[in-house]
């Protein structure tokens, strides 16, 4: 365990940023936290978490894939993927750190998505343990310890110090370049105990999804609850886009008159044209689209991935859904019938 005084935080950021691009949660124009490229003057946000999750840095909303030039019948493929430089992201919470396991299972499974893979290899994740969880937090449901997050390096922060523990080779390598003081783990242990006390008092503590594992896929799918749950869904993509584990994407072409740029961008299963084909769509109403999102997180994904749910309990959808419908309400309603 190592430490550095909070007053030295900017020196630490400057030392990291001297070698690699550093992203830290900083307040944006609306006062919400956002992973921001650190430069002198960028202050660490005191918000619990960012609105957009850390997935943005590994799987950006828009990503250039390839260019094409077309002349008559001739076609040319021009590889021009966005350059990815080595970077460090500081202040990732335990939930977002756990979301990388889920994204890895999608993008790093065969065939490997090299765009994501490159960013994963280039990125060093420094997590920050939570000290003031919110009422919307439920990472404990998925066995995530908010006081001991994963990542290449784990940090804890109290009023005086930032405590630092490297977990991986990548983390060790970064640590070796920094000027940190050795220390014992007693302050961290004390903080962890205090925070665990708060975590036990969270209103969503005790929320249990394990019932879904014993259910037949078709029983959940055919639940009569879906109609009422989805009734007021606006069909917007807020939940999808703030979700650290949603990874559906669309591939689109943009023709600027001289060349065609093929890019991919986030997509949402909540959108009406997500599965639209020339002859129609197989999910014609919002009920089917809404059901798809939650079935995927609660049933389909675990079925294919050793029982791991496609949710990390970050609570972003609880905060941001315009009509306050979310995975907690859905799971609770469905469980009434189990």
């Amino acid at each position: 365990m190592k430490k550095i005084a909070i007053s030295q935080l900017n020196t630490l950021f400057a030392a990291i940023a001297a070698r690699k691009a550093l992203y830290i949660p900083a307040d944006d124009g609306a006062g919400a936290a956002k992973f921001t490229l650190w430069a002198e003057g960028v202050q660490l946000s005191d918000k619990l978490n960012t609105v957009r999750s850390a997935k943005d840095l590994f799987f950006p909303q828009v990503e250039q894939l390839v260019n094409f030039k077309m002349e008559g019948t001739k076609l040319e493929i021009i590889e021009n993927r966005d350059a990815t430089e080595p970077f460090v992201v500081f202040g990732v919470r335990a939930c977002d750190a756990a979301s990388f396991d889920i994204l890895d299972r999608v993008f790093l499974s065969d065939p490997v998505d090299t765009f994501y893979q490159t960013r994963r290899e280039n990125g060093v994740v420094i997590t920050l343990a939570c000290s003031r969880p919110a009422e919307t937090c439920f990472c404990g449901t998925f066995g995530i310890d908010a006081t001991n997050p994963a990542g290449d390096i784990t940090c804890w922060m109290d009023g005086e110090n930032l405590y630092w523990r490297a977990n991986t080779e990548k983390g060790e390598a970064l640590t070796a370049t920094l000027d940190l003081t050795d220390c014992d783990g007693s302050a961290v242990t004390a903080q962890q105990e205090a925070v665990r006390e708060i975590l036990r008092k969270l209103p969503l503590n005790g929320l249990d999804f394990s019932d879904f594992k014993d259910q037949k896929l078709m029983d959940v799918f055919n639940s009569p609850k879906w109609a009422a749950l989805s009734e007021s869904c606006l069909g917007c993509g807020t939940c999808t886009f703030v979700c650290p584990t949603c990874q559906c994407y669309d591939v689109q072409d943009f023709d600027n008159g001289r060349e065609v740029r093929r890019f991919r961008c986030w997509d949402s299963c909540m959108y009406s044209d997500f599965t639209m084909m020339a002859h129609g769509t197989n999910r014609p109403t919002q009920k089917e689209r809404f059901r798809q999102r939650f079935m995927h997180k609660l049933v389909y994904f675990p079925n294919n991935n050793d029982g791991i749910f496609g949710c990390v309990g970050c609570g972003r959808c609880l905060q941001k859904c315009p009509i306050h419908m979310n995975i907690v309400k859905v799971a609770k309603a469905l469980k009434e019938d189990m």
Partner: protein, 320 residues
């Protein structure tokens, strides 16, 4: 108030006035109400809620609800009633299938304005809210937690209803255009920087569009592959600008200024300012007009006079 609404809902179901009730359903916390349809007394008793966080405008749901057969009763607040009447004017809601219960409103609160972390519960007592949190209790004056859009409420008048709960109100004198005027006073460079800062946060989740009662197209131009402008994400800052310019323009003269767009924006972009700018322009250039205020007045963009100002007025009057 909540009890009066509940009783009314049950009464309307029982006396056969309505088959379904459109209202708000309790959530996990005090503040996360979900619009919901109730069909039984039991459901209403268990889940129906009306409190200072019942901000969602229910009128847009009535486009679909009024077509589902049977009759639906909906609780409509003053600002919602403007949206409702505007939708009636555009023939989007089947009026005969809707029973409107007008509900007077003292302004809704914005949970972010409570300034509390780890909210466990909120108690409403008179003019203050007592917030119980993981990190202690806090008392907040309701007036301090009121949503921005309600602080500049245009009208407490319920413009269309079948019956009323609470008093009928009047149009207010609130200054809705102060923020717009502040922006108008800036230089174009400053305005450009301001809007770039705001719009660059947009994640194109479409929440503003999908919640907007004026955005009721069956197929939005931005979803239409044949429109040439379909996009799912802003791949360039131009597309961020275009989406919001066109969206604001498409609701010009139809936007009732309900403020839902800004309420639902996950990135807190003050989208209502674009709409208010257009409302302000319409009022100044073509005479006062309030969308949804009545069924008869011609909307400004489907109307004209031969003496209308020329577009060059934008150059002549400068920033305004």
């Amino acid at each position: 108030m909540q009890e009066r609404l509940k009783q009314k809902a049950i009464e309307l179901l029982q006396n056969g006035t309505a088959d379904r009730i459109l209202g708000w359903k309790a959530g996990e916390f005090f503040y996360d109400l979900t619009p919901a349809v109730f069909t039984s007394k039991e459901q209403i008793e268990k889940d129906f809620v009306f409190n200072v966080f019942a901000g969602a405008n229910l009128s847009k749901y009535l486009i679909a609800e009024s077509r589902k057969g049977g009759k639906v009763a909906a609780f409509i607040k003053p600002c919602d009633s403007y949206s409702f009447q505007q939708l009636l004017k555009e023939h989007r809601i089947l009026r005969d299938n809707v029973y409107v219960v007008g509900v007077q409103c003292d302004g809704m609160c914005d949970v972010a304005k409570l300034g509390c972390e780890g909210i466990l519960g909120v108690q409403e007592d008179g003019e203050s809210l007592t917030v119980d949190t993981l990190y202690g209790k806090k008392t907040v004056k309701k007036a301090d937690a009121i949503a921005d859009r309600c602080a500049t409420c245009k009208s407490k008048k319920i413009v269309v209803f079948d019956e009323l709960i609470g008093e009928q109100g009047e149009e207010t004198e609130a200054d809705r255009f102060g923020e717009v005027a502040k922006l108008e006073a800036m230089t174009p460079e400053e305005r450009f920087d301001f809007w770039r800062g705001e719009l660059s946060r947009c994640i194109r989740c479409n929440a503003c569009r999908n919640v907007c009662p004026a955005c009721s197209c069956e197929k939005c131009v931005f979803d239409n592959a044949n429109s040439g402008v379909r996009n799912k994400a802003a791949a360039d800052s131009f597309e961020e600008n275009m989406f919001h310019i066109i969206r604001a323009f498409h609701v010009t003269g139809r936007c009732t200024d309900c403020g839902e767009c800004s309420r639902v924006c996950p990135q807190n972009i003050p989208l209502h300012l674009l709409n208010r700018k257009l409302i302000k322009d319409i009022n100044e250039l073509y005479g006062p007009y309030q969308a949804g205020a009545d069924m008869d007045t011609k909307p400004p963009l489907t109307n004209f006079t031969v003496d209308d100002c020329e577009p060059s007025i934008v150059h002549e009057r400068g920033g305004q």
